[in-house]
């Protein structure tokens, strides 16, 4: 049976600031489905991504997040990841002195250790083969693996590194937070092709984007519009085209009253 990520009536604000950002989000994503989440700046899209992953900067005040029936909100970020959730960051941080390969090996071994506390981790040659296969799949230069994580990476390289991590960790549900932002059209196509190779029956995706252009490459099954901390419209791919044509003004007009 397909694994589900269920978000129910989720409320959250920034730690230390009472102003609510998420004000009752409801959404269900199943393995094999691609959902696009659109909305104007400041509507809470990135906050949702971070809250789902367990960023300690945010505090959840109400609601539930269940992955495969398990309550995610009681878990630290690392537990959520090992449970099968992935976040492709909008702004991946650089970590000096830690190579991408070493980092991914630790991440995989953390999974193995959860299954078997006595696990010695994946043998290095096996890991090297796995990583090579994933890099080949995504058309990523092998030298990438030896570079310090995101250090000195271009915008496009950072996003490709995120996709490589997603490919290696094989999550059940992935949240891609504005993976298209800051990319030129060529970089966008490369990243989107990577995402398309990874979506399929085993992965569900929540593709967060401000613009429709990402969705020219990654075809969503469902499109949702977020405004003022809630999902206010849901529909099929035609909704994204409608937003492309008309912008977000009609959303603001239609729901501004509800906000105040």
């Amino acid at each position: 049976m397909a694994v589900e990520l269920q978000i129910r009536n989720l409320h959250a604000h920034v730690e230390g600031d009472d102003q609510p950002i998420l004000r009752g989000v409801n959404l269900t994503i199943r393995q094999g489905e691609i959902h696009a989440l659109m909305g104007p700046n400041g509507s809470g899209k990135s906050t949702l991504a971070n809250v789902l992953m367990g960023n300690p900067t945010y505090e959840v005040t109400e609601g539930e997040v269940l992955l495969d029936g398990e309550n995610m909100l009681d878990m630290e970020a690392d537990e959520r990841s090992r449970a099968g959730l992935f976040l492709a960051f909008q702004y991946p941080v650089s970590i000096p002195g830690v190579t991408l390969a070493n980092f991914l090996r630790h991440a995989l071994n953390a999974r193995l250790k959860e299954e078997d506390p006595d696990s010695k981790g994946m043998p290095i040659p096996k890991f090297a083969r796995l990583l090579r296969d994933k890099m080949n799949l995504l058309g990523i230069d092998h030298s990438f693996a030896g570079r310090y994580l995101n250090e000195g990476f271009s915008g496009g390289e950072k996003k490709r590194a995120e996709v490589l991590q997603m490919a290696t960790l094989e999550p059940k549900i992935s949240v891609l937070d504005e993976t298209d932002s800051g990319l030129d059209i060529d970089a966008l196509r490369i990243v989107a092709e990577g995402v398309n190779k990874l979506t399929g029956p085993n992965m569900g995706a929540l593709v967060i984007t401000h613009y429709q252009r990402m969705l020219n490459y990654v075809k969503p099954d469902y499109v949702h519009v977020m405004f003022a901390g809630q999902i206010v419209e849901s529909g099929g791919p035609e909704l994204a085209l409608q937003l492309e044509e008309n912008g977000y003004d009609w959303i603001r007009e239609k729901y501004a009253v509800a906000q105040s």
């Binding site: 300690p56 970020a77 690392d78 959520r80 990841s81 970590i95 830690v98 980092f103």
Partner: protein, 443 residues
């Protein structure tokens, strides 16, 4: 009624002139060395214990008990097998140019590759060199780099060093294989070693010296001197790793002289001791010369490290590049004081110094005081000090990939040091140091 009489004994090293004379007699040392030692002793006696000077005023070492820390150490039969295996492993491959091992001041292992000996390269106990290569020792020992007048403890080392290393690479010779020395102590008390490295014109060498000691409840002192003399167009890579036990107080003077068009690549690691006060200086004395000094330190518990660095540009067209990276946790304190100096008319110099600090607890304290004294106008000199903590943003990124928090912390701290450790040319040593850094993080 009992009248208590308290004798006020001054808390200073318990050495005396007769210790110097006994040492000279025991080693049957030549007159020139005898004169040198006694002159150093005079300097020592005439120099007050440091304390109020600018470079000492932040360093409180009053808790040293000199009665223990300067007691005489006599070798008690410990051998190389008593030294931890990690210190004895070959630096690279399975063959090294040479390995000298000292335990409690006694040379217990001595091997030098034939291909080095046949080139006239000398790598031996400094005491042996005094009798076998007197002209070399006499020419360079405390005549150019470290001098007894550099300070109270430099003078004490000059008077009383009782073991040490001479590495001498003659003109145009290249020591292809790295040389390794280990200075290890099993007994507490006063330890005084002197390292003298002379790489003559157009010669080349790579050396590592490990300092370590067995855990002890009793205090020790290490009064050290390191002299690196890099001749014109010569090339020296020098790695010194300090892992004394936590009852040791180190007071050391380390200075390199870098000749015309020569290159020095010096890496210093400071992990051990209760307290370290080290003066680390590079004199760039020939034009076109380059000196790179890299230091890493990690203080925890009650450790206090005070590292004074100085880059002296005494010739035009010279470059120096200093990078120190350190961390402190628990209640530890660290201090780095750096200075770049240039003489007037020393144009076209490029000096750089930076100290990056990673503060790992609220109680730890790290200070950095960079400084410039530049008397020429056509120069490029810059300095910086940075302070950071473990950033939650980095930890979240690693955790979001499934890595548990403690492991994520380890990776970030380890990564912080990696840039520095990469400057050590031996992979095995880098791995060993990564493991030691991790032990400190988890400890």
């Amino acid at each position: 009624m009992v009248v208590q009489r308290r004798s006020r004994v001054e808390n200073i090293p318990v050495y005396s002139r007769s210790d110097v004379e006994n040492l000279i007699a025991a080693n049957n040392e030549p007159d020139w060395l005898r004169d040198h030692r006694l002159a150093a002793w005079e300097t020592y006696e005439n120099t007050p214990m440091p304390g109020r000077e600018e470079e000492w005023r932040r360093t409180d070492y009053s808790h040293i008990r000199w009665a223990d820390a300067s007691s005489v150490v006599t070798p008690n039969g410990a051998v190389a097998a008593d030294v931890p295996q990690k210190n004895l492993e070959p630096l690279i491959g399975d063959k090294q140019g040479g390995l000298l091992v000292f335990v409690d001041g006694k040379l217990v292992h001595n091997e030098v590759a034939d291909e080095l000996v046949s080139q006239g390269i000398i790598f031996k106990d400094l005491r042996t060199a005094v009798s076998e290569d007197p002209e070399i020792v006499r020419e360079f020992l405390m005549t150019q780099a470290v001098k007894p007048t550099d300070g109270k403890f430099a003078a004490l080392n000059g008077a009383l060093w009782d073991h040490g290393i001479l590495l001498y690479v003659p003109k145009n010779k290249v020591a292809e294989l790295p040389l390794h020395a280990v200075i290890y102590n099993t007994q507490s008390g006063g330890h005084l070693a002197h390292v003298l490295v002379v790489v003559e014109e157009n010669a080349q060498a790579t050396v590592q010296v490990d300092y370590a000691s067995a855990d002890s409840e009793t205090q020790s002192s290490y009064i050290g001197a390191t002299e690196l003399i890099v001749g014109d167009a010569a090339n020296l890579r020098y790695v010194a790793l300090q892992e004394w036990n936590r009852q040791t107080y180190e007071f050391s003077h380390q200075r390199a002289m870098v000749g015309e068009s020569a290159n020095l690549d010096w890496v210093i690691g400071n992990m051990g001791t209760r307290l370290t006060k080290a003066f680390i200086e590079v004199d760039i004395v020939g034009s076109g010369a380059n000196g790179r000094v890299s230091g890493f330190f990690f203080a925890d518990k009650n450790q206090f490290f005070d590292l004074d660095t100085q880059q002296n540009h005494n010739a035009p067209l010279t470059t120096s590049d200093l990078l120190f990276k350190g961390a402190a946790k628990d209640q530890a304190r660290t201090l780095w004081q750096g200075m770049i100096k240039s003489l007037p008319q020393m144009q076209k110099i490029d000096g750089y110094q930076v100290c990056r600090n990673l503060v790992l607890s609220h109680e730890a304290r790290m200070d950095s005081i960079p400084g410039l004294e530049i008397e020429a106008d056509d120069v490029m000199c810059s300095h910086a000090a940075t302070f950071g903590t473990l950033e939650e943003e980095l930890l979240f990124y690693l955790m979001a990939r499934g890595i548990p928090r403690p492991e994520a912390q380890l990776m970030v701290i380890d990564g912080f040091f990696d840039e520095l450790l990469q400057r050590i040319p031996f992979e095995r040593v880098r791995e060993r140091l990564h493991a030691e850094i991790e032990a400190k993080i988890l400890g």
